[in-house]
Symmetry: C2
């Protein structure tokens, strides 16, 4: 592939020193993952960066790519707004910046938007809306998988309680195939308070559980609807299950329950508008 005329090579900023302040946000990526990055998050890989650029929902602060990826990614680079600095580095320098072998060779720093309250988020939903609600989903693979399903089946939004992990954690975004940047979400408070808000906004609230009283087939999509998923193992808190309509997926007796991301796929496929 030849470079498009619009992929201006002169805009590429060559980084030779891993301690260069321009790439400070990319230093020691894994260690920073654990500490959090305040208003920023890391985008990793071509698929996710293309999604972020095409949606434009999050501002991209800067991009850092391996020099051998400049040519294959010429069309992507041509779509990067002129105000966004694009840094390039030799593979060895990139690995030293990131602190581990950066096979994908493409990183970017995104900025979270201004916080939105769960109440405002729900009030803005249309009369026919499907909202996914997550309680204590602490596994990045699972939260990424659930976001991927939410996007695939066109959920209008995701409410995430404070006990769940951050959907914009690097690995969660990657597993979501970028869907964590697609479906709008709010992370706030505890699951009981989120249920109160949903009910006040006129949502029918469904709780999924292996011990749910109704099979999924008995539930129909309708109006404003929210569906809750809890952590594998403990599931949703008893007090939550007691106050809501509970739904189960029929399984063959004798085997362990489904993975929560797969459960969300089956339920959202059924409830999709």
């Amino acid at each position: 592939m030849s470079l498009e005329p619009s992929a201006d090579l002169s805009r590429l900023l060559v980084i030779e020193d891993p301690a260069d302040q321009r790439v400070e946000p990319y230093l020691d990526i894994r260690e920073r993952d654990l500490k959090g990055r305040g208003g920023r998050f890391v985008i990793e890989g071509e698929v996710v960066l293309r999604t972020a650029l095409s949606l434009g929902r999050f501002a991209i602060e800067s991009i850092l790519i391996a020099e051998n990826r400049v040519e294959p990614l010429a069309d992507l680079l041509a779509s990067v707004p002129a105000a966004v600095p694009v840094h390039i580095a030799a593979r060895a320098v990139l690995d030293r910046i990131a602190g581990f072998p950066m096979h994908r060779g493409i990183l970017a720093i995104g900025r979270r938007g201004a916080p939105v309250s769960a109440a405002g988020f729900l009030a803005s939903m249309p009369a026919d809306a499907l909202v996914v609600v997550l309680s204590a989903i602490a596994n990045h693979d699972n939260i990424g998988g659930i976001f991927r399903n939410a996007a695939a089946f066109g959920a209008d939004g995701v409410l995430v309680d404070a006990a769940s992990c951050d959907p914009l954690y690097r690995k969660a975004i990657r597993v979501s195939a970028g869907a964590a940047l697609v479906t709008p979400f709010v992370q706030e408070g505890d699951i009981a308070a989120l249920c109160d808000l949903l009910l006040a906004e006129g949502f029918e609230v469904l709780a999924t559980s292996p011990s749910g009283r109704e099979p999924l087939g008995d539930v129909a999509p309708r109006g404003r609807q929210a569906v809750l998923f809890g952590a594998e193992g403990p599931g949703l808190p008893r007090a939550i299950l007691d106050r809501l309509r509970t739904v189960r997926i029929a399984m063959k007796g004798g085997f362990d329950s489904l993975n929560v991301a797969t459960t969300s796929g089956i339920v959202l496929h059924h409830l999709a508008r």
Copy 2:
């Protein structure tokens, strides 16, 4: 928990030297994962070992556990056949044997049964049977997830082509929550040859694809039925899709396809007997 009388402490074989020949099959677990173990496989973790013991489909050659797990696992140990050696080791010795920190503290070596041909496997199926067929599923998380769904929805068997990874690879078993030991499977040959066998045995063969001609809702469970899943990205080969009934899962336009394990969950939920 106190030890049951049947959890005979005197049977525990104490390992103090990581080079002890009795634990040779446990040496350098990750490196051996890559090379394969011939007729053996590694069982890791309490859930999977309990599944293996309760099903009895695979012979267990030996068990190795951390000494601090003897008491919490007394009931499990009491269910281990007397002929199976149970080794215990201090955590540091166990980690040196395995070659990495063995947090779960419980391992076992299983033996694969005598090989069964795909033809014989299919011939033995009942007149009403659901078989899962995997083409080039090379990701251990995905193959584990698909087996978990196959068990949850009571599939009668899984056919795995030679281009897929081994369902008894340590990580695949773990992700399957032990289901790779539950649902019978055969790994053999290429996907075209497997389709020939299925058709010859009177199976309706469905191929899943984002470009499938029929929505899943139009397909009903019936008689002998097989459903094919291909690798994410490339999907099933064109030549396979051209000769079979193809099925798609309706998704919202504009987003990437579903994860293949989630796809299998949705399809098997729909086709379950």
